[in-house]
């Protein structure tokens, strides 16, 4: 009998647990909430409000956020802003589990490529037109950056940075001078000139590459180079017929990338994401030219001051007349659909992203380029270059940035398919045709 009672109790407990969990998930949205359904924020008042903000761990980014929050709190003494930070992988997992459960913070730092996957689940609040209308956003923000924040013709959040991983590369001018290249700062007219210089910068001992002439085989650099070159050769990888890279432009792009290896600029076996990652490798001077965005500068500025003094960004040559490149929609701020403090949250988001002085302050602190066109042109551009000279070559090409396109899972496409398949090819393990076929098939499967 006792067995029976214990068994019955366990069954009841399981059912009860399921019901409890069901209750906990009752906020899991079925449809994106309309403005009317979203928790109505109270009118701004002097009532104390505490905003929780989630960001990923990046000291430079978070210093920038703290500066803005301090300025906002000084203007709004009734508002307290608390930051909660997570390391990158944990942040992705936390967002994925907390948003459906409705336990997230009021404001969420979000990478543009992720926005629509959360917005479609009804977890993010639509940007109120009074803060930033869709029309304003499309005209004021670079198209490559706003694209990720527009989901089914609705705007969710506001981007803060122009995420760029192609177009200009880090160059160690001291190593260039030692290699006898005196005019490297003037740039390269074409890829032949680039290859000639990078070849001089590569160092090989006993058949082992000890310094890469051009380290472009990080995961972001590899994917960004491949897709940007397809555009520069006049192709498109997202077509009406689906995802297509097994094309003449795709072949040319891979051939050029392989040429960098064959000409001895880089050894992809020793320089990749897992070994000698481009940021580490450049500042440790085991790479003379490195393909990575300017956000690395604040990351390494404390420990590698000496290298930084001889570091310069220089534009890469372009196949096409216009130096077109692809870019992901970068980091920005979004507001949770479950936030009870939406009005205050949007007020802070507006202050941080649309207030020119504040958003520039954040860009300078984080080493990221502005998403707002106004902040990247005219007097703002001059201010940015004066305070952060590394921006200059990027600011000249931002208008040529094209959005990478809407993928159901962009990280999967970049990091699990494009990067490993191309790296395999560059390491000599697969053929060019096989690589293009595999990328095309595997990416197509994700749609």
């Amino acid at each position: 009998m006792i067995k029976k009672i214990v068994f019955t109790s366990i069954c009841l407990i399981i059912v009860f647990s399921l019901l409890l969990s069901g209750c906990a998930q009752s906020s899991a949205p079925v449809e994106p909430k309309t403005e009317a359904e979203q928790p109505q924020a109270e009118e701004p008042s002097d009532k104390p409000v505490t905003l929780r903000v989630w960001t990923h761990q990046n000291d430079a980014f978070n210093e920038g956020y703290q500066m803005i929050a301090d300025a906002y709190m000084a203007e709004n003494p009734n508002v307290t802003i608390n930051f909660e930070t997570f390391d990158y992988d944990t942040y992705i997992q936390t967002l994925q589990t907390s948003l459906p459960a409705g336990t997230e913070a009021d404001i969420l730092q979000m990478f543009g490529s992720w926005v629509c996957s959360y917005a479609s689940g009804g977890n993010l609040a639509e940007t109120p037109p009074s803060v930033f209308s869709l029309e304003q956003a499309m005209s004021d923000v670079y198209s490559a950056q706003i694209a990720g924040y527009i989901c089914e013709e609705k705007l969710f959040g506001v981007p803060q940075e122009f995420n760029i991983e192609y177009g200009a590369a880090l160059v160690n001018t001291r190593l260039a001078e030692k290699a006898g290249i005196s005019d490297i700062s003037s740039g390269w007219a074409d890829w032949d000139a680039f290859i000639a210089d990078a070849k001089k910068l590569a160092v090989t001992q006993d058949g082992v590459m000890t310094r890469s002439g051009y380290n472009y085989t990080g995961s972001d650099g590899t994917a960004a180079t491949f897709y940007s070159l397809i555009l520069q050769y006049g192709g498109q990888y997202l077509t009406d017929d689906g995802f297509k890279v097994n094309t003449s432009e795709g072949k040319k792009a891979l051939e050029l990338m392989k040429r960098f290896v064959d000409e001895g600029l880089n050894d992809p076996l020793l320089f990749n994401d897992e070994q000698n990652w481009v940021g580490d490798s450049f500042f440790e001077e085991t790479s003379a030219i490195g393909l990575v965005g300017p956000w690395v500068i604040p990351e390494y500025s404390t420990d590698f001051k000496d290298v930084l003094e001889h570091t310069q960004y220089i534009n890469l040559p372009s196949i096409s007349t216009d130096p077109v490149f692809i870019a992901s929609s970068g980091w920005g701020l979004t507001v949770s659909a479950n936030s009870p403090n939406q009005e205050v949250a949007w007020d802070f988001v507006s202050f941080a992203t649309l207030n020119s002085a504040q958003s520039i302050k954040w860009n300078l602190a984080s080493g990221t380029l502005p998403a707002l066109k106004a902040n990247a042109t005219g007097a703002s551009k001059e201010q940015l270059i004066a305070e952060f000279p590394y921006f200059e070559p990027f600011l000249n090409i931002l208008e040529f940035g094209a959005h990478e396109g809407q993928f159901p899972d962009r990280d999967l496409v970049w990091y699990e398919i494009t990067y490993p398949r191309i790296l395999d090819f560059l390491q000599g393990n697969t053929s060019l045709d096989e690589t293009l076929e595999t990328i095309e098939r595997e990416v197509s499967e994700t749609f």
Partner: protein, 338 residues
Amino acid sequence: METPHPTNKIALPDFLSRLAHGRDSAQRIFILVTVIPLILYMAFWTLFPMVWGLALAFFDYSSRRAGGAFLGLGAENPFIGLQNFIDMFNFQPDAPLQVRQFHSSLKTTLLFAFLVLPLNLSITLPLSVLIENTHERLKGVFRTFFFLPVLAPSVGVAIMWGYIYHPQRGLLNGIRTLIGGKLVATNWIGDTSLFFLGIPVALLAIIFAYLWQDLGYNLVIFIAALQNIPESIKDAARIDGVNRWQMFRHITLPLLKPTILLTSVFTMISSFQVFDIIQVITSGRPDDNVRVLVYDIFENAFRYQRMGWASAVSVVLFILVLAISIIQTRLLKTEWEY
């Protein structure tokens, strides 16, 4: 006074009434008070996740998508029955990426577990006998020496071995360079073209690091088992004139059979669950050569939010571990004790 014995036909009110009265009521209440919290704990933290995990395996579930009202199931997270399991049997070269990654993960996991087990036992068993035969004062030193890596955090161990295997700055290549007088930069972890006896060198490198950390467990268990073998049996064997090898082969080894079973099952289970060392050293790359099932589950579930698929892979892993544990138990079962 007759002791009340619960019968199969007793009604709940009667049972509750008997709980409160009678000679054994205090004992029964004590049992219930101590057992119920444990059952509740188990139900909430173990049973529910298990049932939930099993249920998800039959759904195309992603917490990113808007599901139905009940636990987010249904709607955009539809019930798909056995489809996840059917997909696992798609061995076509153009099978979806997640299926091919599952196949390579399964192969790598089996290879890892079936290499680790014999290697571990073939090192720890003789080593424990050697340590047991050393001077009494040295035994403690050796035990501590070999057990220390077990106490080290796995992530720290993985980072350390990552440095050892680094192509340019690594200790291993450094020693080879020193000996050969020529710069060597073998990429032990990243070179997918390196194989030894058909096994990826990257996997062997991981196994070596894993063994280094894991040996201490089995070693300590074997030493404890060796100390429990009655001296009288050994004395009897000595009187019969057995030499050291015969003693080990015919006395020690058979008597250690239950311990070998225990360590085999534990080692096999922990090998199937290997994750942290692979995550830190390789991130599952290169070319999925070192991608194991737990890493595959982690990536699918938490990186790409394919919870349904990840749950189905978890079910396969569970069945695999259960089956292998049962087989091991049957094969190494003994009918006697000493």
